[in-house]
Symmetry: D3
Subunit: 158 residues, 6 copies
């Protein structure tokens, strides 16, 4: 195969911010994760990847919010940015929880990796900033191995 | 870089079924999608990828279910397989809907790609079959461009 | 065993209104259903049993409400009675739906029997009227046999 | 009483945007409604009041969205504004629906007045634009008089 | 303006119990709050206004319930009255929570004022007692100023 | 009446597994409870009945899960069986909670009896194992007598 890498991967420059966020969380330890990060940087997007494991829902919410603030994805002093992130986090947790936003209260625990990406998106000729949160990991009983994959995604204007 | 591709991609053989399902739906048009499909085939997993766009929720449920049956991911004559798939689909749609399982009823439409994967998973020394459903696409107003990314994921024993 | 029937069944006279409602819907075709009805009559409770099958949620709600009115379990001209019944019905349907109050919209159909009972209950030395609704039947795919049992229960002051 | 009107009503100039929105929908036909509108105008807020009655949820969502666009509360060509309004509307409808975002599907109808207000809010020394939606009216059976008050409220950054 | 106050405010005597409850919580510190209270008294309605701030959901439920009992809006010894109030409180909290009945568990706190009104309402020529609960205040991050308005409303027969 | 008991009760041998589970929890202290248990044994079904009372939701989930494991209804070492049971428990709790899966968090407590039944069911000529969970008891304020009946039911393939 004589295709250059640039050619082969050209579609990746067309990935939406949401797809990049999802791939970042799924592949940050994979070779392709590096390419995703390069694309995020090239676009000037701010992003971070973090981990949190807990039966305690509030710790999960707090870990994601803290990570976004500490890594300058949002401005912690601007309420509107915190508000935007918060709702994106809750949306992502709804995908992880599937039907009820509860972990330890219903005897399940999570081990999660999350990615938060924020940047300018062109929508219908209009450029404005949006934020997306993707959470991937395991959910299950508080017993090693008694768990399966979980994935959630939230998206908001910022 | 002198690493062989096999070395670079070695972790991908350790991806969980859920991660493979998620990457399949996100990357089926990408070069990496081919590698994901190779891994699925190597493991003997049954899978399919399909598309559905609608304001009508029931059409989305039906399209995913029909695709799984038509492509032999599940046995359409076995109620337990249909039951397992159905709940995995609903879980995935909860991630897409984030809070309410409604599309047209609340004036939003979806354009979705879905992947369904089914196969043997080793859990705590126990081998049994599971099914996972990942849905990726757009959700938004019934006006071109007034939409953003959505992602949902469901997982069940089969 | 030399116990008389009266002795054997003595506890049944102590059943709560909710338990009687549940047993009525589960056993109305069984010999024991007759005993349940006798107990309801002995207490002066008003009750009815009906059936409804549909993919259309609103038809289920309407069938139960209409049955209660037509059989004089509630006064159709008294809004407070209609209001009380309505919320008891919705509660029972939540048990049938388990997580989402939707049938056909998510490609499932129901075949249900319902019982509605209304009467005076002694609570903490206070006598007042309450209503209970129990729904039992099947829920599943719109394909014969691809369905399983479902049960829901609602209770309200009237 | 010798207090001047300005003195008596002075607190009203300190009302939050959300309180003004709620009072606008509750009092737009009352004398005090005029004062609320004056305060909104004084602050440079954009607002509108409208009505919608239906068993059809999507018509309620559409009526509120259309009114906001037609009355220049939001820019109909800016997806981020439409996105912000949409989530505020859904939040308000959750308050009206209390537990499930459904009207006709569960045999209830609504007769609603809504107010939408959008403007700059000072939060922690940070000035930015927010939107609030308040819905007030009746919800009940599709029979005149068999209905009671309902109220819902949503709020979002824009 | 030569209109008498009685004339100007005449519509207020036609306000529904739910509207009076909502205005009471929004305006109890405003001059108009006094007029609302006069109207409640004139109708012989029992009512109370209270405040509660917490991240702990159960404290909010308990504070409202306790206030209604302590201020004789309901009879604390009558289970049916407690049951009626309880469901009205939960409905109002659903409006405050918009989608999930959780505060501290999802890292948000509330500062709320609530009004509870109970009295005879004429519905379709039928007079019976109802109770309404309106909650107004702020919801947000546990950081001063990082919060916005919230409003919820519940209504039940008693 | 000269019908033999066997004849009179013949329909009971046709009861679905879900109906048997529901009757077991409702009637385990009644004479008919013995007949239900005989039928379960005759079919080779595994089952158990237990009790749990708490304001703490997680204790309810844990008690049901522990009882199923301790009484060999499921294999505690097989994740797929634990997964199947878990979702059936959650479904049953949704029926008990009616709208929100919360007990103490919203100031209510439960006193519950539960039955778990697992066995082979013939569905459309296909024989496979399913599990059903029925929960019956009281839900209410943390004050003796201020409570009413509650019922929930879950069903899953195993």
């Amino acid at each position: 195969m004589t295709q250059s890498k640039a050619t082969r991967y050209s579609d990746r420059t067309k990935f939406t911010m949401g797809k990049l966020t999802s791939l970042l969380v799924l592949l940050h330890n994979d070779e392709m994760g590096g390419e995703i990060e390069e694309e995020l940087a090239r676009r000037g997007y701010r992003y971070t990847v973090g981990k949190v494991g807990s039966m305690d829902l509030v710790k999960v919410v707090a870990a994601i919010e803290t990570s976004a603030k500490a890594n300058h994805v949002i401005d912690p002093h601007a309420y509107r940015e915190v508000h935007s992130l918060y709702h994106a986090i809750l949306e992502a947790i709804q995908g992880v929880g599937r039907g009820t936003v509860q972990f330890g209260d219903i005897l399940r625990t999570v081990g999660l990796t999350f990615a938060i990406v924020r940047g300018v998106v062109d929508v219908s000729g209009d450029s404005s900033e949006w934020i997306s949160v993707c959470i991937y990991g395991t959910i299950g009983a508080p017993k090693k191995g008694f768990e399966h994959d979980a994935l959630g995604f939230g998206y908001n204007h910022i």
